[in-house]
Symmetry: C3
Subunit: 469 residues, 3 copies
């Protein structure tokens, strides 16, 4: 018998709850569109079974292992792979038991919601997860994963995914996307152009990346013109071979520049030859956002900016375990000043779509909603990362709708590498949006008929339009 509350995340007051329920009813079965994320395209290309519960749920999910680590559980003991080649726990069941023992630490977090949803809705497990049920869960999930029904493509269909985007570097040959396309399988798995490795002078291996970039693009990247041509070349390849409709940029800030041709070329020369100061590296990243916007005007890719993470806060963890281990901490962002050069250049162009994501909630009402509420090129991405959660999503709507409305937002992104959490995350977003809309209806701010239209747009219409899917 199901343990998940069918009314979860709806407002407790009964009349408002009934409205939320009706709104949710209208969108809960809509197909999932996942326009930005980090699933591995090889899953869909090779369609191999996922190895075991710990590898699926624990080792790759920094939301999970960072919380256990914060309470003294070592990353090694959770099987998190080490960058320095050191040994880590390999016994899946031992990892799983450790996870179960500390599952209470996730109380009140979105990870807890996603996991409970997956256990119940994907695996049919309705007992509370914890030390007492750890082995039973492990056995059940492990057995399920070995069946056809739990292979990546079967889950893709079961999850009712209409389209999903992965994220690749320009150095990627998109072989998995080609394999998928040639396989005859109907699932739509597209890529997104994420050039950080050849745009960010502070990216590990930047100089080598540049060399490889020139090679793979067949362009002479020793010149600014050749470097830009290489981007145009690879963007075209990503569109054609990978079905890309967007590029994506993960920068420490939202800084942009719009330098003159000669100045930009000189800056590139400095950067290319590894002589860039911190300020020059920042300027170069900023200049490239404006260049990417210009290319978007030609090739139609949507420009996504994910700014504001101060990555790898612990040097010791970076050295031992590498990137993306939960030590990326947000910082204050000033979108208004930082985006001005780009917006002065192209912000009024109705052909361009720039989607802004944020890790600094204070910018929602003060900067992002005012900017997106007036610049035709701007749209607001959904709450991201630490804010991809019931409270985070609710605050986002409360902070942005009054100034930017609904139609300058772009629906939901799951932005995840945790495949099984995808339906759970979209479900949370649909519930929270239904709850928010129900509150507007119950307080006389929106008609119920309109709320149904908006719910559909927030779930399906806006994401298709914004991402051209």
């Amino acid at each position: 018998m199901p343990r998940l509350d069918p009314d979860r995340l709806f407002p407790p007051e009964e009349r408002t709850r009934a409205i939320a329920r009706a709104l949710y009813e209208g969108v809960k079965d809509l197909p999932i569109i996942s326009p930005h994320g980090h699933t591995d395209p090889s899953w869909f290309a090779e369609n191999q079974p996922f190895p075991d519960p710990a590898t699926l749920f624990v080792k790759p999910d920094h939301y999970v292992f960072r919380m256990l680590f914060s309470q003294g559980v070592s990353l090694d003991s959770l099987g998190v792979p080490r960058a320095d080649g050191g040994e880590v726990e390999t016994d899946g069941r031992a990892i799983w038991r450790r996870f179960a023992e500390h599952y209470y630490l996730l109380r009140g977090t979105p990870s807890r919601l996603w996991l409970d949803y997956s256990f119940e809705n994907v695996f049919g497990l309705t007992d509370p997860f914890g030390p007492d049920t750890a082995d039973a869960f492990y056995d059940h999930i492990d057995a399920a994963l070995k069946t056809e029904a739990f292979r990546p493509r079967a889950l893709f269909e079961r999850f009712n995914i209409e389209a999903i985007a992965t994220t690749e570097s320009p150095l990627d040959d998109l072989r998995h996307h080609r394999t998928i396309a040639e396989s005859g399988w109907g699932g739509r798995v597209i890529t997104a152009y994420r050039p950080d490795p050849v745009v960010d002078p502070d990216f590990p291996g930047f100089t080598d990346n540049l060399a490889k970039f020139g090679e793979i693009a067949g362009e002479d990247v020793s010149t600014w013109a050749g470097y830009l041509a290489a981007h145009r070349n690879r963007r075209a390849y990503f569109k054609e071979v990978g079905g890309a409709t967007s590029s994506d940029h993960g920068h420490p800030t939202a800084h942009t520049e719009n330098l003159g041709e000669a100045e930009a070329a000189a800056l590139y020369e400095t950067v290319r030859t590894g002589r860039a100061s911190a300020a020059e590296a920042e300027a170069f990243r900023g200049q490239m956002l404006t260049e990417m916007a210009r290319m978007s005007l030609d090739d139609g890719l949507v420009l996504q900016i994910h700014p504001g993470s101060r990555r790898n806060h612990s040097g010791a963890i970076l050295q031992k375990f590498g990137r993306d281990k939960g030590f990326d901490i947000p910082g204050r962002t000033d979108f208004v000043q930082d985006l001005k050069p780009l917006l002065d250049a192209h912000g009024l162009d109705t052909r361009l779509t720039i989607i802004l994501f944020m890790l600094d909630e204070t910018t929602q009402s003060r900067e992002l909603a005012p900017l997106a509420g007036v610049y035709p090129a701007l749209r607001l991405g959904p709450p991201w990362w630490f804010y991809d959660s019931p409270e985070g999503m609710m605050r986002f709507r409360q902070n942005t709708t009054e100034t930017a409305g609904f139609y300058n937002t772009v629906g939901f992104n799951d932005d995840t590498r945790a495949y099984l959490s995808i339906p759970a995350r979209h479900d949370v977003a649909r519930r929270v949006d239904s709850a928010y809309l129900a509150t507007l209806v119950a307080t006389g701010r929106l008609g119920e008929d309109e709320a149904h239209d908006v719910a559909h747009d927030l779930t399906y219409g806006l994401v298709k339009k914004a991402y051209k899917l």
Copy 2:
């Protein structure tokens, strides 16, 4: 039959809602006091009919046209006048249809609330507004505007306005206020002294403005002493002829200075002769706030500060359409450091009232409530601009009351040039305050009898006291 929910903006839970309803009942018919705003005094002086629906509702309302612009509707097509003399749409009905077609973009915004309220309560239009009803609305409103009952003075009385303040530059001769006074009409329309054009060295035409200022004031503004005398002179004129009880200052930051006499005089000389650096311009604006406080000690005008807008973010729009076109974006403000010179000089003086407005909500609980909760001269203005909305008002109370209480706030300002929205805006404020107070009562934080007193104070008592009206 009415379409507006009579319980709109009240908490959905029934017991709390009943308390809110009772509190609102006690204040809903109180007269409107509008101590700060931007209505045009010529309306009341000349009492001419408003020309047509588009000119009344669309062309001048940047809340409305910015949202449409953000979704690709050109400002020209909405009849927004151009600063560069270019042609724009002049067909009122065409503009109105364009507005109706995009009315759904305003869902969830306060503009939507204000407009629906005006349609229903001012014009008796209870159908949903949209493409299907656009022409009917246009015809009905257009016909109404041609009647006596919809002339500015008749609406003033119908809106139950006890007093309204406009905002004029020291260069204004207040002819409209004189006309009103001499007309024998009983409506109280007062001015406020807004000296930005002769205080802000970055204001367009600053040098010319200074020359005109000297002339109109009959003072030699080539000296610091003469310049200050001109201000005193014009303030006296604004009090006497325009009934002013306040000055108002729209500065990029809350920066203040308290320079010595000689230093201030030297800075003025730099500014007057057009040689001020950005830092000197900032210092001068800051010095003038302190000077204005000193003049307030003599003449009793209340000092309003509206800081934190980064104006005219798009250079292209400024050039084509001019100021106030929706491209003013808030910035972070540091009141604690910025106000220290002024507060050190006069912040403990119980004779002085300084009303602070904010566009950076993070300062509400961190800076403004702690400052206003201790300095006798400080009061907090209501949520302004992007925050003059149900969520914005509710957050303001939640963020400030626990530290500053109710009695360091000053009631509501509509701060608008949209005349028909005035009763709608005051109604929203009264409803949100009733909702907030009802929540305090329902959670045992305030007695219901006290809540009635506070509701009255928030609606009527505090604004009269703070603005000396």
Copy 3:
């Protein structure tokens, strides 16, 4: 008959309220653990009656007198002692009447809740407090204070305090703690090591304090090694004689440093000899946080950091009345950058506990929850000062739980010198946590059984564990 609402601070919706009520029922009678605060140990050592109502409730409570001052009531007239030796009101009853007359100013504030709670639950006074009841309240409280039942130790027992920490400077000889220990009385009153007077070069009398510090510790503080040894010495004394389990540090920012030995010694020499610039003073405070963390690894004291107050904003008040008079205003804090040196040095050490407090709520979701959600050494202290209030506490849970969970928080601190408010404050915290948990349960985010466990942990378990009590 009681006037306090037995359901106060619970969500109004009935089903959620019932859950909150049940959760509160399970924790309301748990003993109070007060691990950080500013009560006076002489109260418990000497167990003398409190002198009179005004001295107990008004004169020392900056929450109260600042609000009255902000509305024009002079501090002198409230009996707030002057630092410059000037005379102030000494008539307790006159002060009390002034307080009653302005009691309405506290509507909506936590002080109001605490006071009403104390009047009713400590003194049995259930009439509304105000001008009409001022004298009756005064007489009743004054008479009660003269009885045995209202002496400090009797109240300690009646308040069901299991342990309370005071805060002392290293220059304190802990005589009161010794007296308590030797008295045979069973109450657990411990100290905390607060070395600001000998760590902060900007502290009044810093150089003299250093000399006294060397003397009292029996170390040669003219050297860096001797200075550190003096700290180790006094920390050991505080542990042994005062039962300390923590140190505490009130710094303007969260800045930390981890300088090399020689560099640190040189900086100390600069500081010791009174030649430190503002930047060097900041660096020294920052270095000392890291040194204290290192000592904690040896002696086990928990490290508390209270950053972000810009103290003594009004120079005039500082001069006339001294410190802690309500003029300490928060500032923006950047924990991510500021704490990096300390966290790089010791943040991954599971033996260390660093408790972070904040006066800048924007850091809760953006910085503090992400940091505490990954660094094993970090924990989040409860809402402090202006945020020790129903809305502040609720926002804290909403902003931090999704990223840091419950188990990286440490329960409640009352942090007060207002003895009678202690049970009131803990009651507010228990109610708000119950309300928050009830909302999670009612929205399907947490099981009700789990919520009971968490409520117990938030009230009792986490504070004991974090503070080793």
